[in-house]
């Protein structure tokens, strides 16, 4: 056997040599251990964790971002867009009203409408098949919270150059801001939620939406506190300038000064109050009341808080958080990444069709309507039938707002607050607090800002109801496709059952060949959504948890 000893030697040598080869790693992908070790690494994670985990991953079902899918639901439920052709993601069903009554008194009842379909489809299997609307916003926002917690845990391990305290604080403010944003998004849509504040933390203690919103406010305030300590030097701007993608630093997007950022926070804090309380304005009645809602009406103190916060909120010219499509390497595409993109084009072939109930709120002569919409083709689809199509890039009227543009980079998407939103919060708070003309002044300012070219309404002697009608019209028109439309018609009481004081009146539909202009709609939507089964099945509520299904519906 001696002469074969070389065989054993060769074998042994081969085994030894091979073992080193086994750790091939993944040459295609970075890892925390090797890549998140320095300033650029943590910035890469802090950027990707927000823009991709928070706003892109998992949203390829409809369009390709948070701004096409979860924003899409808000605009669908807000009756700003509609669809009957495609069932994907339930987009033709989630917004179906319980009934509507045409001008001639014909009542059309839908046996399957928002409440039934939303609940029937909230199963993991339906998520898998692409039919569970409750899934996406929850998915994205908890992914965002996870990323923020992850970055926060890694900040102390990273050696930052220059004024490292300022840089670390800028990163922390970034994480707190987005945690505030994510909790706000959860608390505004879902009946309850989970608080997960450290990386890898798990919780089965569901808390009611108000506690989630409290978390949101808490993180917004922490961000503001940090920002008030930063003087805004180059260490701050270099970090924030890297965190915000360069292609978004255009128009209203840019590297916010700490003061601008604080003003953005104040707008969001005001929004948290406004969107999560009732301000019923049903059938033109500012004194309307709603029964059986999951939220209480705004009090004078609430309006005062909104007034104060918005008073310190975004100003004309402030940079805000925006998104734009990049022709390559963006976080959404120009042709499908936003509600706006999905609604832009001839109504026969777009995913979303602009709703008659959106267009009806343009006052006559509003330049924004002529600049953005045509009536070349009619889309016939029962309740969501529409005469209107949105023109990509508009008709070119100078200084007039453009609602949709499929050329990469042209459309400006608002991720958080905007000047218009803040101004209209000031308007609404003032009108509600009795300062009607001050409030209407803000409405006029927004119309001027967007180039509407219509006569001012301030100081024209409008009463509260008429003033609110102006405010309502302008919010629907000015804030279209910004993910707010549903929350507006919810808090105004329109989405609640007529039997409980809700309903939407004097609407236009273009069903068939007759135009109805006085349609009563009973949406009767669930106001705050149930928690997706993808959470509750795998993470059942622990003792003492808040309900995971909205008990009011």
């Amino acid at each position: 056997m001696k002469k074969h000893i070389w065989i054993y030697i060769v074998c042994a040598a081969m085994l030894g040599a091979c073992k080193k080869e086994l750790n091939v790693g993944n040459p295609n992908s970075p890892s925390i251990a090797t890549n998140v070790t320095d300033e650029s690494g943590i910035i890469s994670l802090a950027t990707g964790g927000i823009y991709i985990n928070g706003f892109n991953k998992g949203d390829g079902w409809l369009g390709n971002s948070y701004f096409s899918l979860p924003y899409g639901y808000s605009e669908l439920l807000g009756d700003m867009v509609g669809n009957l052709g495609a069932s994907n993601q339930l987009i033709s069903q989630v917004n179906v009203p319980y009934f509507y009554i045409l001008d001639d008194g014909t009542k059309v009842t839908n046996s399957s409408f928002n409440q039934t379909t939303l609940r029937l489809n909230n199963t993991r299997a339906q998520t898998g098949a692409g039919y569970n609307p409750t899934y996406y916003q929850w998915l994205n926002m908890y992914a965002m919270i996870y990323s923020c917690n992850q970055v926060l845990s890694l900040i102390p391990t990273i050696k930052l150059s220059g004024d490292s305290t300022t840089k670390a604080n800028t990163l922390k403010a970034w994480c707190y801001w987005w945690k505030g944003y994510a909790y706000a998004s959860i608390g505004t849509l879902y009946y309850s939620g989970l608080i997960i504040n450290t990386v890898d933390e798990k919780s089965n203690h569901y808390v009611i939406k108000d506690s989630i919103l409290e978390q949101s406010n808490n993180y917004f305030n922490q961000a503001a506190a940090i920002l008030s300590s930063i003087n805004g030097g180059s260490d701050y701007t270099s970090v924030l300038g890297a965190l915000i993608p360069a292609f978004c630093q255009v128009g209203n997007g840019g590297v916010l000064t700490p003061q601008m950022w604080i003003r953005n926070i104040n707008t969001m804090l005001a929004r948290n109050i406004l969107l999560n309380k009732l301000a019923p304005f049903v059938n033109g009645d500012p004194a309307a009341t709603i029964q059986g809602a999951s939220i209480s009406p705004m009090t004078a103190a609430d309006w005062q808080s909104v007034l104060t916060l918005a008073g310190n909120g975004i100003q004309n010219g402030d940079y805000v958080f925006t998104g734009r499509a990049s022709s390559a390497s963006g976080f959404f595409t120009a042709s499908g990444g936003t509600v706006s993109a999905l609604a832009t084009g001839p109504n026969g072939s777009t995913t979303f069709k602009v709703s008659e109930r959106f267009i009806q709120y343009f006052k006559s002569g509003d330049a924004r309507k002529d600049n953005n919409f045509n009536t070349k083709t009619k889309y016939n689809a029962d309740f969501v039938s529409t005469r209107y199509s949105m023109i990509s890039g508009g008709n070119g009227a100078s200084g007039v707002y453009v609602y949709g543009d499929k050329t990469p980079g042209n459309y400006e998407l608002f991720i958080a607050g905007s000047y218009e939103e803040n101004a209209l919060m000031l308007a609404e708070a003032n009108i509600q607090l009795g300062n009607t003309d001050v409030g209407l002044g803000y409405v006029d300012a927004v119309r001027a800002y967007q180039g509407a070219g219509i006569a001012a309404v301030a100081a024209t002697g409008l009463n509260k109801s008429a003033a609110l009608q102006e405010l309502v019209s302008e919010r629907r028109v000015a804030l279209a496709f910004r993910g707010l439309s549903y929350y507006d018609i919810r808090r105004w009481g329109w989405t609640y059952d007529i039997a409980k004081g809700g309903g939407s009146y004097h609407n236009i539909t273009s069903i068939g060949s007759t135009l109805n202009t006085n349609v009563t709609i009973n949406y009767n939507f669930i106001d705050y959504w149930d928690i997706p089964a993808d959470e509750t099945d795998l993470n059942p509520p622990g003792t003492g948890s808040a309900p995971v299904k909205n008990p009011n519906f």
Binding site: G25, S111, S327
Partner: protein
Amino acid sequence: MRNLRHLTGWLCMLFTVAAAAQTKPISGRITDITGTPIPNASIRTKGASAGTSADMTGSFHLNVGKNAVLIVSAIGYETKEVKAGSLDIIDIQMSTDSKSLSEVVVTGTGTATSRKKLGISVETVTADKLPAAPTASIDQALIGKIPGAQISATSGNPGDPINILLRGINTVQGGTKPLILMDGVEVKAADISSLDLSSIERVETVQGAASASIYGAQGANGVIQLFTRKGRQGKASINFSSSYAANSYINSGNVHKARLHPYLTDANNNIIDYASGQPLTLLDDGTLTGISYQFADNVAGDQHAANSRYGILSPDNINNKPYNANLKYYDHFKQVFKTGYSFNNSLNISGGNEKTDYFVGASNSHTISPILKNGYFERSNLTANVGAEVLKGLKLRSVTQLIYTRNTMAPGLGGGGDYWYGKGQRSGNVGAVYGFLNTSPFFDLTHQDADGNYIYYPYADFLSVNAGNPYYVKQYSNGLDNKIDIIQNFDASYKVNHFVELDAKYGVNYRTENSRWTYFNQSENINSNSTQSWIYYNNNNDNLGEITDFRYSNMFQNILGSLFFRTDFQKDFKSRLPITTSTQVSFDYRKQKYTEYITYGMGVPLKPPINMTTVGDPNLTSSVGVNRDYIEPFVTYGYLVNQKIDFGDYGGVTGGFRSDWSSAFGGGHTPFTFPHADAYILPSSFDFWEKLSDFLPTFKLRGAYGKAGIQPGPFDRYPTLDPGILGSNPIFTNPNPSQNPNLQVEVSREWETGADITLNTNKNGAWFNGINLSATYWNRKSSNVIYTVATALSTGTPGQLTNAIDMSSKGFQFSIDMPVFKSRDFSWQLTTNFGHQTSMVDKIAGKADIILGSAAGSTSLVLRAGQKVGQIYGYKAFTSLDQRKLDGTPYIDKADYDKYEMVNGKVVEKDTRAIMFTNETYALGDPNPKFNISFINSFDYKGMLTLSVQFDWLHGSHLYNQTKEWMYRDGISGDFEKPVTIGGTRAAYTAYWASAYYGLWGSSHGPGNNATKDFFYEDASFVRLRNVALAFDLTKAFKIKYFNKLQLVLTGRNIATFTKYSGYDPEVSSGTVNSAWDRGVDHSTLPNQKSYQVGLNVGL
């Protein structure tokens, strides 16, 4: 105990006889029936275990006793007994027989072993049993040939890979593809379908963990080993074959679009505008507007305008009007599915002398796609197999295959490309099929606009919204896929001495593939502009077109070193025991590197040249870019120790283990060990069998146990972040699912037990004179099966890869090979191959169901513990008025019974004319077949005229007809013209048929839209005339100088299908190729082709 005494007695007698015999030399030559020598044939005298083997010329010398009987055996030939008598020189002709137990196999055993001495089940097919499939691919030819295996062509797109399922589904993410070996070396970069059928001599298959355990961490899905043809000694032989085939798509279910319609018409049957009342005319952009159903839906609680999508649910609308006025009916299947053609040519030369042999072959196969004849698929192969004995005992062999494949089909019409395409497990892109299936029949796909261009999106308001036109795709796109495969194997074997043999193998397998998809500038197309729709891969920004280049490379190397140590107790140790042993120690190393590089250029000019330097899109800041740059390294190695001990002809045992390391599992440090053991016993060898041996000459029982593995994904164990770019900055994101550093190999443990039997049923008779039967029962359990287990969303990631699942499967297979009739001039041989198998999910960690996304879109597939793998979940149509919910409560109040009636076995609501479906889902069933069986008949008249007929029968398989369900959306399906009787009236109600697409209990549309329902879950059992070939060899009929063979062959493939399935082909599946679970859905695939082929085979 009694048996042992018999054995001992027998042994003693044998020893005595051998010692006492007087011997004399005998020599001779072993040839096949054509006179070609058979090297290495083994010759021994009956009763002796030792003997000799023939040399390269087939010659042998042996000392034999008086009146000795010689037993001659050789791989692939029927063992022959010849009385030597007083002859000194004897020439022996042997006939081929693949099924006999004398056959020698190597797969699963490591060393060449007679089938008689196998404890495992190995299935073999020799080349002469493989039909000349029109695409000349091996995988196609193997369909029906391997008992137990389910091999199916799930797409009719030329060049697409086929589904191979050997024993059970034992993995979820790993797929069912077996290990492919060629001459002992793994072929991982090239596809089995790329190898040249005419260069293959034999195929061996071992199907499960018990028999494939020596392949360790990659053996669990079984092994298919191909053996390349070798040259034989003698003068060079030249073979040439040529064939021509006409191919068309199967439509066994008579799929067509409804020839009658329910739309609003005038007195002249013109389809009219609902508002103006004027007949509709095609707009400039090829679309229509103003169409409407005849009646609106006025059922309370569910009202829809006639000119909207849900007008189809109106109980008043009836499909009863012919398209005989302004709008005509166009048969889109006729417009799109044409007759394609295949040409195959092959030439090979082989020969050899005492020390060397050679085989050189060249072949070419060219197939024009039947879908609009839009391109072709072509493959050229060059094969060389050269062997030489360079020194005494040292043999070298080199096997080379060079393959060039070219595919010019357009993307969407069969073209190859996209992510992972270079791995050979993806079908070509046939996305445009869905579009034309869902185009309303009143659109003419061949219609050209004023500029002579085709229409892309022919829609009519709410109808035809999923339309798409393949003619447009053909006009505006272009695909070109070039692939080169190189397979080079070297083998050196050295017989050191009587005991020790060393063998070294090295195989390198390299593939380079480049595919380019060009989407032309569509900005001058009226329809594209007006509907803002266009075809693209990356460029969804505008209709200016794009070029996308896909570059793939795959390098695979396999080194295998083996040491064999063999003993024969009688010869080597003068023992009386007839024990032979074989010990194998092997080291096996595999390394692979796969890469993908995808680049694009957006905005192509309207006029040529169209290339990457002329692209430019004014709407984009950057027109060119890299879409993907991916590299996948993989290393695994292990060693094998295998010990085989045989006791004469009576029985034997084998045992051993294999340990494997892999870059993909065990944290890189821990090897996994896979033990195996098998045993066989041949009761027919014992003398107590004497009385039975006339009738039952061979009776063998065998049993085996083994473990084998399936590797995790190459990076599943490396925790990473996902890379990305935002603008120009690199970004990192958290992956979904997240990886798991502790992943283990998926392990499959299997028992198999079986018998191999030869029966002399009618020994010297013409009819049914014998039966060869081989049967195996197997049972396996898989554990550590990897899949993404869903995690609560609040953890920040919806899933993590986990060794989460336990599965089990079992099955039974047999093959019966028997001469039905045999006379001097005529023979009829029947082979029957049968397989039954079933697979279950036993356990899922965390217990939550695993929700799977089917390639078919909305069809629901779920993995649930206690259920079969691949079950489809969906809603059921009520079959009685007393239909109950899962909680036992009835759906319908007794008081309401009169509102419903039974129609075609389903409950229909009279008012709405809608079928009632549950609103809770059920497992609709396991789509996998209960059994598959193939009958292969071969008739031979004087070797001159041969006829072979193969029927494949798949029983109990099901398909979810998603193709049809989509065609129900707008009432396009031909079903809509079928009348039904509801409320005493018989008519083709749109509401009845459409309810199958739209309805669920409690809602006529919405949640039910396109939901998975048992209505579309169909029995897809079929009997298929897979192959019929009639061959006439002129050289056998007439003496023709120089020719050995001059054969004319007429072949029909897939020419008849008997099935109840209403789709076009019950064999298709739209799931990923070799998917473990996505196997039962038919969603806009291309059906298989029906072919008529004429061929000529020439041998010189």
